[in-house]
């Protein structure tokens, strides 16, 4: 096979951007000051001359800045949305300059409870301030400014990433030409808060959690793995669990009549839980789930004026939901659409038939890719700037 026949190897690297030294950090929505702030990020594609082709991708709860491509030949798996992002893909890196950063409060290189507090030389642990989706977006704005971009062509995200995309539109209506909000909501529901609370309780009731200051000792792995198991249930659906596992037993023909693993679904959840503790920090999960629970764009006093600015700026929206998503069900996407319609904004909406639950937005889908390509192309030559 000749070299030409091989697929193009999209190489990227993890970079870091730090701002807000010497008391010039972020003023958080809680009123607290925080700095310096570090964001881990990657970029793909090339920024064009007039800096008008930048697309910011916001990751979901446990994602990271590695959205697509490979860090190097050694890496076995590409970034988390490689099926959507790359040359000739739904978000075409031949056309767009793609940016993705790890969220504030995360544990994949950006400032979070597990990063080192420069004042003490120790991890922040619970000295890290509570952050909101708005704070995450404010930090991303600094990165976008640092990259020299005045107005993003689009902000795209699913789930918690979708909340960030919507928050971008609220906080910076003049700096986004469009937003794509997948499987997300304008305000976190009681159901979603309830699941998050169970996840948090699993962590804080782990004896190893030690009020959050566990970094020098044993980690609260048991609590974190249970938290992940709960999360996983909400990402699936009745239908997908029925198809994937049914009532099939794991490695046995009969019940064990004890509390070992009997069913495949149990085994799957335990595996997912155990795998997760190796890559994720328990405190980060507490902070990020809390940020999601606080999310409610309609609580802001100047929410209406942001909508008016978005109308003036001719910002376009694409909202997508999935039929079997019970974490952020379709009615919540329709609520977003309703608000945008009432305020005269340009919005497209599609409910994709899928039986795999909330996770559907991350799975390879020509349907979603086609719509995103069309939506991003449809923006050219329309609206301001």
């Amino acid at each position: 096979m000749s070299m030409d026949a091989q697929p193009r190897f999209l190489k990227t690297e993890k970079r870091f951007f730090t701002f807000g030294e010497k008391g010039k950090g972020l003023v958080l929505e809680s009123g607290a000051h925080f700095g310096p702030v570090t964001l881990a990020y990657e970029t793909l594609g090339t920024l064009n001359k007039d800096k008008s082709n930048a697309v910011l991708i916001c990751h979901a709860l446990t994602g990271d800045s590695h959205v697509a491509g490979y860090y190097g030949e050694y890496e076995k798996k590409p970034g988390w949305w490689d099926t959507m992002v790359g040359p000739g893909k739904g978000i075409d890196t031949d056309r767009y300059f793609v940016i993705c950063s790890n969220i504030l409060g995360g544990c994949m290189g950006s400032s979070g409870p597990s990063s080192i507090n420069p004042e003490t030389g120790e991890p922040y642990a619970l000295d890290f301030p509570l952050v909101t989706i708005g704070d995450m977006v404010n930090a991303q704005k600094k990165l976008v400014e640092f990259l020299g971009i005045e107005r993003l062509h689009s902000v795209i995200g699913g789930s918690l990433g979708g909340m960030q995309a919507l928050a971008w539109c609220y906080h910076y209506p003049d700096h986004v030409r469009s937003a794509v909000a997948l499987a997300t909501t304008l305000r976190h529901s009681a159901l979603a808060i309830a699941f998050n609370e169970v996840a948090r309780q699993a962590i804080v009731r782990d004896p190893n959690w030690d009020k959050g200051y566990y970094y020098s000792g044993e980690k609260p792995s048991m609590g974190l793995s249970v938290a992940r198991m709960i999360g996983h249930i909400t990402y699936l659906s009745d239908e997908s669990m029925h198809q994937k596992f049914g009532r099939r037993l794991q490695g046995k023909d009969a019940f064990s009549f004890d509390f070992d693993t009997d069913f495949q679904v149990e085994s799957y959840l335990r595996y997912q839980g155990a795998k997760f503790v190796d890559r994720f920090d328990a405190n980060s999960l507490l902070y990020i789930t809390k940020a999601a629970d606080y999310f409610d764009l309609s609580r802001y006093a100047d929410y209406q004026s942001a909508l008016a600015t978005l109308k003036k700026a001719a910002t376009k929206f694409l909202v997508v939901s999935y039929t079997s998503d019970w974490l952020y069900p379709t009615y919540q996407s329709r609520d977003i659409v309703k608000v945008l319609k009432r305020n005269g904004l340009d919005v497209s909406f599609c409910e994709i038939e899928a039986d795999c639950g909330h996770d559907a937005f991350l799975l390879p889908s020509d349907n979603l890719s086609g719509m995103i390509t069309g939506f991003l192309s449809g923006l050219h030559g329309k609206g301001r700037g």
Binding site: K316, L318, R334, V337, K338, K341, R342, G344, D346, V347, S348, F349, C350, E351, I352, E353, N367, G370, M371, T373, G374, F375, S377, G378, L379
Partner: protein
């Protein structure tokens, strides 16, 4: 593009705001957007057709036209188009009123049930007519409202809207070509097209 849609396109002022109800795969909206710089919006119930629209770069919402209009502010559009969908609308007076609330004008087109072939079918065969425009039997038809061109004119008085422009055309279901019918339109036209406004 279908002949009736070409005719509707010719009625729309360039640069206007247009909402297409039951816009299908967006043929009319795409033509209006690219050829007349129209600011387009659409509502379509089928996921597959909505995807086809969004892939073309059109702004379309997946939803039911009976439910989706309520959210739009008054006079959001210059035209609201209901093309060959009237026969499937549950409450036509309410829908027309909503269309003329959110739009300054509306365009309505429908298959003419007064066409002579339909009249002859019922008269001679005794069965409920099945035609190219309305190709279903009584037991499986989605077309719950069949009407004639004359019916629509009487409807305008009953509901209270003005007919600003009308055309009776002779064309087949997916036909790109057609003719305007001026003589005995209610007998000879397969479709009726109306531009309507507030009373």
């Amino acid at each position: 593009m279908r002949y009736d849609l070409t005719l509707i396109e010719s009625w729309i002022q360039p640069g206007s705001r247009v909402l297409g109800l039951g816009c299908g795969e967006g043929d009319l909206l795409y033509a209006l957007k690219t050829r007349k710089a129209v600011e387009e919006r659409g509502i379509e119930i089928s996921e597959k057709k909505v995807r086809a629209c969004i892939e073309k770069g059109l702004s379309v919402i997946q939803g039911d036209i009976n439910l989706e209009l309520a959210d739009y502010p008054d006079n959001s559009f210059d035209y609201v188009v209901l093309s060959q969908t009237m026969q499937q609308v549950y409450a036509p007076p309410e829908l027309i009123r909503s269309m003329l609330r959110i739009g300054k004008k509306a365009v309505v087109s429908f298959p003419n049930f007064g066409h002579w072939r339909i009249r002859m079918q019922l008269l001679l065969s005794g069965y409920v007519p099945v035609t190219e425009q309305l190709p279903y039997h009584w037991y499986n038809t989605p077309n719950i409202r069949v009407l004639t061109i004359k019916d629509f004119k009487r409807f305008s008085n009953d509901v209270g809207f003005r007919i600003l422009k009308e055309a009776a055309i002779n064309t087949q279901e997916r036909d790109m070509h057609g003719t305007i019918v001026t003589v005995f339109p209610n007998l000879r036209a397969t479709y009726g097209l109306f531009l309507i406004g507030k009373d």
